[in-house]
């Protein structure tokens, strides 16, 4: 409200100010015109006195300016420029201008003065001098000023009263409505209602508002009920899922375990057979035995991998600071020992440390690096590069090889369980390695992906969540 009062007050002041300035200007013009007229009249009547050098008559003529109380001096100069007559007679002659000036009146800071030539016919006989103080203007001004102030005071009072009335009738109810809305939003309490305001437009607004709140309340209630039901359903399902999961896990665990036992026998006895009866067996027999042992070993690996995969579901991550570079070196030492007969260029760039579960991350490196080694088996000069880069605040680790690569067409199969993109004859493997890597990475909240070109190598990337 104070702003409105201030604004309207300022507008009023400006308007009045404009009027005052206009009045001041016109006052000056009016006073000037007045003096000019008086000057013309007196000069017209003073011609004879001047022509006949009649000082007495000239003085009498000038004295008539008494009628205009603001005129403080008048004088007549002859054609030689000397002061011929003056009014008032008591004024010292040096207060009059020394020489008569050109026709016209001018304002000085404290007076208005000027000259009017005295003509009889076409002949100039002398010059009239008039000087008036600015009392006329200031008096008008004072009066005007007083009126302006009075108007302003009354207007202000009226404006104030009016705004108070309006405030009570309009602003206050609206503000209280806004207040209510705010309370509802802040406290999320939909039982709050705005106090009714009567039958007019504001009342209609308030009623509508309250209706809306009721609606919100009802809907809110329904929503929370629904939410509750949903929560219930979800927890029921989760329970069911957990149970199923657990069953599945114990199933795969016991399956692998149960599968292992006979396998161990096969493995064990095949080995014994190989050792004890190698000499008895012929070429064909030795070959057959080799095949049996080979397959047994493979099956063992498969079961191991399966177990590892199944176990992954159970384990919780134990996150700690991990020196990635050291870990990779360690893994490389182990894995490259078996490949000592090969020409391998191994490039290990600086890898930033990370915060993760050391055991499973090691498995990731093992799987990725052993893959790199496996699929570069047929490459003449193997190059394996392990590096990292930072992108958008995330660290991405990379294992790159120049091996056989894969067709991107089958990318969707890459990380699938038991999915292989090459035959057993080309490259042996169980098809679980990358699936394990993906599971581990995803458990860390990260991402794993790859790019490759057939016969040109593959690059595997992974990032870990924060």
């Amino acid at each position: 409200m104070s702003i409105i009062l201030l604004v309207s007050g300022t507008m009023l002041l400006l308007t009045c100010g404009a009027f005052v300035i206009y009045e001041y200007q016109t006052s000056r013009q009016i006073v000037k015109r007045n003096l000019s007229i008086i000057g013309e009249i007196i000069s017209a009547n003073s011609t004879a006195a001047l022509a006949f050098e009649n000082h007495k008559d000239a003085n009498e003529m000038l004295a008539t300016v008494r009628a205009e109380p603001y005129i403080i001096a008048a004088g007549i100069y002859d054609m030689k420029g000397n002061l011929f007559s003056q009014y008032p007679l008591t004024l010292p002659a040096n207060t009059f201008p020394v020489r008569p000036g050109i026709k016209g009146y001018n304002f000085t800071p404290s007076s208005l003065e000027g000259f009017e030539p005295i003509f009889q016919g076409n002949k100039q006989l002398g010059t009239l001098y008039l000087k008036s103080d600015l009392g006329a203007i200031y008096e008008r001004f004072r009066l005007y000023g007083a009126i302006v102030i009075l108007i302003m005071v009354i207007s202000f009072l009226l404006a104030y009263l009016l705004s108070r009335i309006l405030q009570k009738g309009i602003s206050a109810p609206i503000l209280s409505l806004a207040e209510t809305a705010k309370i509802v939003s802040d406290r999320k309490d939909y039982s709050v209602r705005a106090s009714p305001q009567g039958k007019d437009e504001l009342g209609a607004l308030t009623d509508a508002f309250n209706q809306m709140l009721t609606q919100i309340q009802v809907q809110n209630f329904e929503l929370s009920e629904f939410n509750q039901k949903l929560e219930q359903k979800v927890s029921e399902r989760t329970l069911e899922l957990e149970v199923a999961n657990k069953e599945l896990e114990s199933f795969s665990y016991s399956v692998s375990h149960d599968l292992r036992a006979p396998l161990r026998s096969i493995n064990g006895f095949s080995k014994i057979l190989n050792e004890k009866y190698y000499n008895i067996l012929n070429e064909d027999g030795r070959e057959l035995l080799k095949i049996i042992i080979g397959n047994a070993i493979k099956m063992g690996r498969l079961i191991d991998d399966l177990l590892a995969f199944a176990q992954l579901g159970r384990r919780t991550l134990a996150k700690m600071k991990v020196d990635m570079k050291a870990m990779v070196l360690n893994v490389w030492e182990d894995l490259s020992r078996a490949e000592s007969d090969r020409k391998i260029e191994f490039i290990l760039k600086d890898l930033p440390d990370t915060y993760a579960d050391a055991g499973t991350i090691k498995q990731v490196w093992i799987n990725l690096i052993s893959n790199a080694l496996k699929y570069t088996k047929h490459t003449e000069k193997t190059v394996i590069e392990i590096s990292s880069e930072e992108k958008d605040g995330t660290v991405i680790y990379c294992v790159k090889d120049n091996g056989t690569g894969f067709d991107m067409q089958y990318y969707h199969k890459l990380f699938g369980v038991f999915q292989r993109l090459h035959s057993q004859e080309e490259f042996e493997g169980t098809g679980v390695g990358l699936a394990i890597v993906q599971r581990i990475i995803e458990k860390h909240g990260g991402k794993v992906w790859a790019t490759a070109k057939l016969n040109e190598g593959a690059s595997f990337y992974f990032s870990l969540g924060s």
């Binding site: 006949f52 009889q120 076409n122 002949k123």
Partner: protein
């Protein structure tokens, strides 16, 4: 022989005296008549003659002097180049009444009252503003009389006389003068 010489000297002296008596004294105009000359010119600005007196714009307004000219060259100097209501101005000198032709203002340099009265009477009907400085100028029928009052040149105006001659004198001029009614005759 001695007696003849003295007689000659006296005769010469007498002759010279006579000359100075009869010939007008060519003294330069004094201040008084300079002012009066200016006034004569100014009268023309405050008096209205009937239209017949100045029929055309080119008709000159004549200021005449009857009798001795006390103004010297001053009156001519004052009016030179000036116009009144568009009429050019002219100064004429008259030695006798007969010489007076058309003029609008006539300064009568006559002091003898009887003669003055005769002259003025004969001027009636000719719409001439008569000005003079003889003491009983007004009583003899003149219109404006100069006199010295308070060490200043002042004038009396007989407005009735002027009116009777169809001359209109401006109130501005009348205001400055001491008007008088008909003469004391």
């Amino acid at each position: 022989m001695q007696v003849l010489k003295t007689k000659f000297h006296t005769g010469l002296l007498l002759f010279l005296l006579l000359c100075s008596w009869s010939m007008p004294a060519q003294t330069p105009p004094n201040r008084e008549y300079q002012v009066k000359a200016a006034f004569l010119f100014n009268f023309a600005q405050f008096v209205e003659w009937p239209p017949a007196a100045l029929p055309e714009l080119s008709t000159p307004l004549v200021i005449g002097i009857l009798g001795e000219d006390p103004f010297g060259s001053y009156l001519e100097a004052i009016i030179s180049g000036e116009k009144i209501n568009g009429h050019p101005l002219k100064v004429e000198h008259y030695r006798s009444l007969e010489e007076v032709k058309t003029c609008q203002i006539l300064f009568l340099n006559i002091t003898e009252p009887k003669k003055l009265g005769q002259v003025i009477a004969s001027l009636k009907g000719r719409t001439i503003l008569t000005v003079g400085d003889a003491p009983d100028f007004i009583q003899e029928g003149g219109m404006i009389r100069f006199f010295i009052g308070n060490n200043k040149i002042q004038f009396q105006i007989n407005q009735e006389e002027a009116k009777s001659q169809r001359l209109i004198i401006s109130s501005k001029l009348l205001r400055l003068a001491k008007t008088e009614g008909p003469g004391k005759k």
